[in-house]
């Protein structure tokens, strides 16, 4: 039985990994930037492997500020979709999830993004029926020294079963 304590660990993992992969695979832009997600239980970390096409200033070379913003927006959207479908997924209800829509996005650039892999973790600070707030931290070599932070508001998709 799905979600039960005696469910084999293999089946738990594959169910969760498949749900996350389905969420990510549906968005062409995530593939374009090469973003991947690392999952530990319900915690996910976004990974942006370095690539030449992500460079803004070739002299330094530094990540394009727009790439940093996009990476953080992607990790916020996936965290929000992932955490809001978690209970359904654990209960074995598989519903194709419409993604939340960004209302506004605010990035603080703390230091230059270097020519290496970047990581991001998003935290949903408020999750309502219609609106959600999310904060994101992105770092590279040193978790304690984020190179960018962001906060954003999202419009949640209407649930198919919302109307009676």
């Amino acid at each position: 039985m799905i979600g039960a304590a005696h469910e084999p660990v293999k089946s738990v993992k594959s169910r969760r990994d498949q749900a996350l992969a389905a969420l990510v695979a549906g968005v062409p832009y995530i593939q374009f930037l090469g973003i991947r997600f690392d999952r530990r239980g319900d915690e996910i970390t976004a990974l942006l492997p370095f690539d030449d096409k992500l460079i803004g200033n070739p002299m330094i070379p530094a990540l394009h500020g727009g790439v940093t913003a996009a990476f953080m927006e992607v990790s916020a959207i996936i965290e929000l979709a992932w955490s809001s479908q978690w209970l359904d997924m654990e209960a074995g209800v598989s519903q194709p999830m419409r993604l939340p829509k960004t209302i506004d996005f605010n990035v603080d650039y703390l230091r230059a993004g270097l020519a290496r892999d970047a990581y991001a973790r998003a935290v949903v600070t408020r999750s309502g029926r219609r609106f959600a707030s999310v904060q994101v931290q992105a770092w590279q070599d040193n978790r304690a020294k984020p190179f960018a932070m962001a906060s954003a508001h999202f419009l949640m998709p209407e649930k198919a079963d919302a109307q009676d």
Partner: protein, 142 residues
């Protein structure tokens, strides 16, 4: 007639690998303002159900236009970097249409440049997104 400045700036943007990856093109440049376009591209779609571009791609375009506007401010900065960028997404961009970002560097201090930027698709009366940014300003040595 295309000015030398526009040609130089256009080459500068074409040299930015990420601007190149998104096929951005600088179409207009003036004293403290810049207009940059980006074609619709299936690889940049955020919502496959509708074909709407991902907000992140629009942000990248707005950031590029904003940086270009700072670079051509009369203060003649040596270089610039984004300090903060806030973007409001007002409506989904229409599928298949290019996006145009118009950025104005409306104020500079000794160290900081302030920018307003608007993104539109073919319907220029209804912006897709609007943003405000703050940028570092490295002035030439006196």
């Amino acid at each position: 007639m295309e000015s030398q400045t526009l040609r130089n700036a256009r080459q500068f943007i074409a040299a930015l690998p990420h601007a190149q990856a998104l096929a951005m093109d600088l179409v207009e440049l003036g004293s403290g303002f810049a207009t940059v376009t980006m074609p619709w591209d299936a690889r940049l779609v955020g919502d496959p159900a509708t074909g709407v571009l991902h907000g992140g791609a629009v942000s990248a375009l707005m950031d590029t236009a904003s940086g270009a506007a700072v670079m051509c401010h009369p203060a003649a900065p040596m270089s610039t970097a984004t300090l903060g960028l806030r973007v409001d997404y007002m409506r989904p961009a229409t599928t298949g249409q290019p996006i145009t970002a118009r950025a104005v560097c409306h104020h500079v201090t000794r160290n900081v440049a302030f920018v307003r930027v608007t993104a539109t698709d073919a319907d220029e009366t209804r912006p897709v997104a609007m943003g405000t940014g703050t940028f570092t300003l490295d002035r030439p040595a006196p």
